[in-house]
């Protein structure tokens, strides 16, 4: 079959790879209808997460049609139209029972790598390096779904493919930031990043009752899209002092909840960006955490900061003093999508959650490398390139 594979640092190719097959009784095989790029793919592609091997199929946000099921798959049948959570979770370990699906004990077939890095291993993730299990990604004609009953969800008839696609990763990730960040009615919420996840976090905060939501970015087209499609306030961090602006807009208190949706390749205004890049290239830090630093410093006393952006290991100048002395609650996670996807699909069906606008660049899978170039370099107003593997 055809697939988009990682060939080396910043090298992608569309090539032929072996078809997936049922390897466990609880597996299913999905014919991929739509598969989206994600900002966290860029960390793998750029080599910041050094656990990729040449030939690895990337992609983890997807939906499609079930074409084969293992003998122990009970909830799905051939022909079902489903959206699949990017996180591979068993649904039956203690963490899954708590709704902490991305911490699943049984979904990662390479536990030693992340146990050595982080102390304990998280769940597996499709197309997300061998540290996360080495599972093939979704930028392919077909993909194997382990624990299919747990990770695939039927798409309601009234929800179109392009809308449902983003219930796979962006929407549940954003929702988790607002939910576990503790957004309550009347809160003021600031969101760093107006990509798909940031927009979904902002929308989730509004649906959870936040009185004001302020989203921060530097790309005019993303700020305009967020203002238009999500309906929240926006800030261009290259045109204003974000910390001062947030204080002014919150009566001097600072936001109640700060959600970071940027990740380890954060841009920093001014010369500090080159300094951060140099430190990262010299491996004095593995990740550039500017947006997290700013969220921590801007957050009100006793407030909450949720880190949605992906980080791999170590950061420099982390303001732990601010976390401690301001009494902040700091939380983070890969997305616990299985906890939210059915509810999000319901909201999509009711028209409460719009997502299709995120797919600014739909294209055939053959154009995958071009799609990533547009996405990475923010060309042509790209928010998400979405591939049609069957086109």
């Amino acid at each position: 079959m055809k697939a988009l594979v990682w060939e080396g640092v910043n090298e992608l190719a569309v090539t032929s790879v072996p078809d997936p097959r049922i390897l466990n009784r609880q597996d299913a095989i999905l014919k991929v209808s739509l598969s989206s790029v994600c900002g966290s793919d860029l960390h793998q592609i750029s080599g910041y997460i050094p656990f990729m091997r040449a030939g690895d199929v990337i992609g983890h946000e997807f939906m499609g049609e079930i074409v084969e099921v293992g003998p122990d798959v009970a909830r799905h049948r051939v022909g079902d139209r489903v959206v699949v959570c990017s996180v591979i979770a068993c649904g039956r370990c203690w963490y899954c029972e708590q709704g902490l699906f991305s911490l699943c004990d049984n979904g990662n077939t390479n536990p030693a790598i992340t146990e050595t890095l982080w102390g304990y291993h998280p769940a597996g993730i499709f197309g997300y390096s061998h540290a996360m299990g080495g599972f093939k990604g979704s930028h392919a004609e077909y993909v194997r779904l382990p624990f299919a009953d747990q990770i695939a969800f039927p798409v309601p008839d009234g929800v179109d493919d392009m809308t449902a696609l983003f219930a796979s990763d962006s929407a549940p990730t954003g929702w988790m930031g607002a939910d576990l960040g503790g957004v309550r009615p009347g809160d003021v919420v600031a969101v760093w990043g107006c990509g798909a996840v940031g927009q979904m976090a902002a929308r989730a905060a509004m649906l959870l009752g936040a009185e004001r939501v302020i989203a921060i970015d530097r790309y005019g087209y993303r700020l305009e899209m967020t203002e238009r499609e999500v309906g929240c306030e926006v800030l261009d961090y290259e045109r204003t002092d974000v910390d001062a602006e947030l204080r002014e807009r919150t009566g001097g208190r600072g936001p109640d909840v700060c959600i970071e949706a940027v990740g380890l390749e954060a841009h920093t205004p001014g010369l500090r960006y080159r300094f951060e890049q140099a430190k990262q290239q010299l491996r004095l830090e593995t990740d550039r955490p500017h947006a997290v630093r700013q969220a921590i410093l801007s957050c009100r006393k006793g407030g909450s900061v949720f880190v949605l952006g992906v980080f791999s290991a170590l950061v420099d100048k982390f303001p732990l003093g601010a976390v401690m002395n301001k009494g902040l609650t700091l939380r983070a996670a890969q997305q616990h999508g299985e906890r939210y996807i059915p509810m999000l699909l319901d909201r999509m069906a009711k028209g409460e959650l719009k997502t299709a606008h995120l797919a600014t660049h739909p294209m055939p899978l053959d154009e995958g490398p071009v799609g990533y170039d547009l996405f990475k370099n923010k060309r042509d107003g790209c928010v998400r390139s979405v591939f049609h593997p069957s086109a």
Binding site: N24, R53, C90, N106, T109, N110, P111, A112, T116, H130
Partner: protein, 160 residues
């Protein structure tokens, strides 16, 4: 340094390290049991009650397969979190340079023990042992050899 030269240097470094480790290990093996230490308990918590983890005293197949090489201990986990399933090697485990060589060669008995514990937990909680995707990659490269080795050992290594 071009890519080819860099690959040769990395390969030479890895080879020299392995040869040195083997020499040290051979010396220690000649010194008797100097390379062995008592094993500690390796433990997983299984999200199932005690009576399901070892019905009638019968251990899950992966652990039972290790036979008398291991001691096994079970106790209820606090807070209703299931059962703590612990095991350790009866005859001790390699240490020092012998450990490094055994781990690289895949012959450290703790690797089998860790894998058996993880597989037992998966079987009890989900009914099967999750298989990695096959083939793991479509193209082997020199640069990815360390990751390939780490992946091959990943089920038996780690902090468990």
């Amino acid at each position: 340094m071009n890519r080819t030269v860099r690959r040769v240097v990395v390969l030479a470094g890895v080879s020299a390290g392995v040869i040195a480790a083997r020499r040290i290990a051979t010396r220690q093996e000649g010194d008797g049991a100097a390379g062995q230490v008592p094993d500690r308990w390796h433990t997983v918590t299984v999200n199932r009650p005690h009576e399901e983890v070892a019905p009638g005293g019968r251990l899950p197949d992966p652990l039972a397969g290790l036979g008398d090489a291991v001691e096994v201990r079970l106790r209820s986990a606090p807070g209703g979190r299931g059962t703590e399933l612990a095991a350790r090697l009866r005859d001790g485990a390699p240490a020092g340079a012998a450990e490094a060589v055994a781990r690289a060669a895949g012959s450290d008995p703790r690797q089998d023990l860790r894998a058996a514990l993880r597989q037992s937990k998966q079987l009890l909680e989900t009914g099967e042992v999750l298989s990695p995707d096959e083939p793991s990659t479509t193209r082997r490269t020199l640069r990815s050899l360390p990751l390939e080795l780490a992946t091959r050992r990943a089920g038996g290594e780690g902090r468990l």
